[in-house]
Amino acid sequence: MGEWPLHLLVLGPLLLGAVTYFLPRRAYQWGMGVGNGVLTMAALHLFIQVRWGVPLRQQLADWPQGVAIPLVADTISAPLVLLTALFFTCTYLFAARAGYMDKTFIFLFLLLEAAIFGVLLSGDLFNIYVILELGMIGIAILIMYRQDKQSVYDGMVYIMMNFIGMAFMMLGIAYIYRITGVLDLTLIHERLAALDDPRAAMIPFALIMTAVAMKAALWPLFSWLPRAHGAPSAPAIVSAVLSGVQVKVGVYLLIRLSTVFLPVVNAQAFFLVVGFVTSTVGFMLAIAQKDIKLILAYHTISQVGLIVMGLNLGTPEAYWGGMYHIINHALFKGLLFLTAGVIIEAYGTRAYSEIRGVLRRMPVIGIAALAGVLGITGAPFFNGSISKYFISLGAAGNPAELGLYLINFGTMLSFVKYGTILFGRPPENVRPRADPFVSAIALLFGLAILAGGVLGGPTVALLYGPEYAVRGAFSPGKVAIFAATLGVAIASYRWGVSRWDAWLANIRVFKPNFNQITVLITLFFAGLLAYTAWMNA
């Protein structure tokens, strides 16, 4: 089989959206289905080529390296491309019959897919900048698509703070171009290693990483995330896509650009600490929320922190654990957001205290949501347990191990709170809407979560290559720790959290305004710059 031009994969979703826009209603749905299928097959083909072949590298228009815009697919980006394609296809099918799916919405949705593919496949720093801006505009429109309540305000804060981040990034790119004279990531890597004075790379590193940390929603730059992912008016599939794959673009850039800067700047310890703080603050804010979508949105921050911790612990087990957790988190958080959308629609409310008995009233959705909860809390035999086991294996002997216990407990606590909506007596006026697509996709996600746990070791080996024994994740000790954490979490929820409502309200109102957000961005930049200067002193 020949080599496919990679830019077709980036342009594919855009072309699909543009061409099918003009088709009549019936042909439109067929076209979307076929188009999504073709994209998924292309992504699968790319993954197979890269995983069992060599990484692909293509220069656009056949210009020589250093002049052309390169497109690169390697063992880190190819699995994420496959995940993105599958995820978008599933969410499209999930919502195919929903009322808000008009053609403009789907076009924007596909634009977001193209932007994610673009960042994952691009090997050029400025190209990444442009595509991030494109994705940013698309997301802002998707957030405020229904223009109700405060969604326009959310969209405005989102776009303005990200614009500041992107200005930081452009200044950083300019510095990079000034000291290396290239924008190709591999060439930057080579030329940075050959620098006379490695301190020249400090300022661009701090500038670019500030923008990347904002895209990855690290503490204290995460205040855009709950606005975007938990926006009251954003449709369920937008929340699912943003939390499932879009925030991983930031994490991916963190991995990719850290490697580029590695010969001169090593900020692993900084990001380890930031990851831990992100995770802790994330679950504390999640516990304080009353809105089920906001619980999930804040919890995404916590999980991103966990992923960043795993990637920066410096041991291979933790690294691959973090990489696997990227995929696992996409599965269970995507499923949780999708089911939350269905639940909100059926119950007509978003307050967790008014939703009860989902398992009894909507058994299929309830079981799927339960699978998501079990996955995210790391229950044995579900996929979260495998990646968390790898991360804790890699953290053995490191003080971060204690932090992991804290994060696991916090996750458990926030999902004991979330899980209360599944049980109990349902109110009378619930009208579940039967939709075979919704049930099928929800169960598919649930099965994937279970399969990713039972077949955890082979899945990691299949996706990335390294083979680790996962038997430890199913050992009686781990199961006992899970049960004990669950017991403590239920107890502290029952006799603690549920009664501290006044105290939690103080955390809940912690929402920085735009000026404070800018101050936080500046402080993060200053902190990162001070840290790199201190490391290179």
């Binding site: 802002a140 223009q147 326009v152 305000y153 800018t518």
Partner: protein
């Protein structure tokens, strides 16, 4: 006084652009007026563009346009210029979008102040 004027004379466009960037950042940190913060963010973007354009600047270089007779000597680096056309367009469209969103917010909540806006959102 001589040292002050010497300091200003040795400043380059790049230095001024970095200064402008932080002026914009300061504005975004301190202004409560939404329009002023949008202007500040726009200034940051323009400053970054100015900085980028000034990289690899060689005095007396020819414009990077190929001519039949002259060989490619002393030609200005075309890459920053080409990239910055893209960046300027992106910057303009994002600022325009911010202003459009602000109009929506303004019609509904009738304020140009971030703090008052937040208070009215919670009511």
């Amino acid at each position: 006084m001589a040292s002050v004027s010497a300091f200003f004379q040795q400043l380059t466009l790049a230095d001024l652009a970095v200064g402008l960037f932080f002026i914009g950042l300061f504005g975004a940190m301190t202004q409560r007026n939404i329009i002023k913060t949008i202007i500040s963010v726009g200034i940051m973007d323009v400053a970054a563009v100015a900085f980028f354009v000034s990289t690899n600047f060689t005095p007396g270089a020819r414009p990077p346009v190929a001519t039949a007779d002259a060989a490619a000597v002393m030609m200005a680096d075309p890459v920053p210029q080409a990239l910055m056309i893209t960046a300027i367009v992106i910057g303009v469209s994002v600022v325009a979008m911010c202003l459009a969103m602000y109009l929506r917010v303004m019609y509904r909540y009738e304020t140009a102040d971030w703090d008052i806006l937040i208070r009215r959102l919670e009511d």
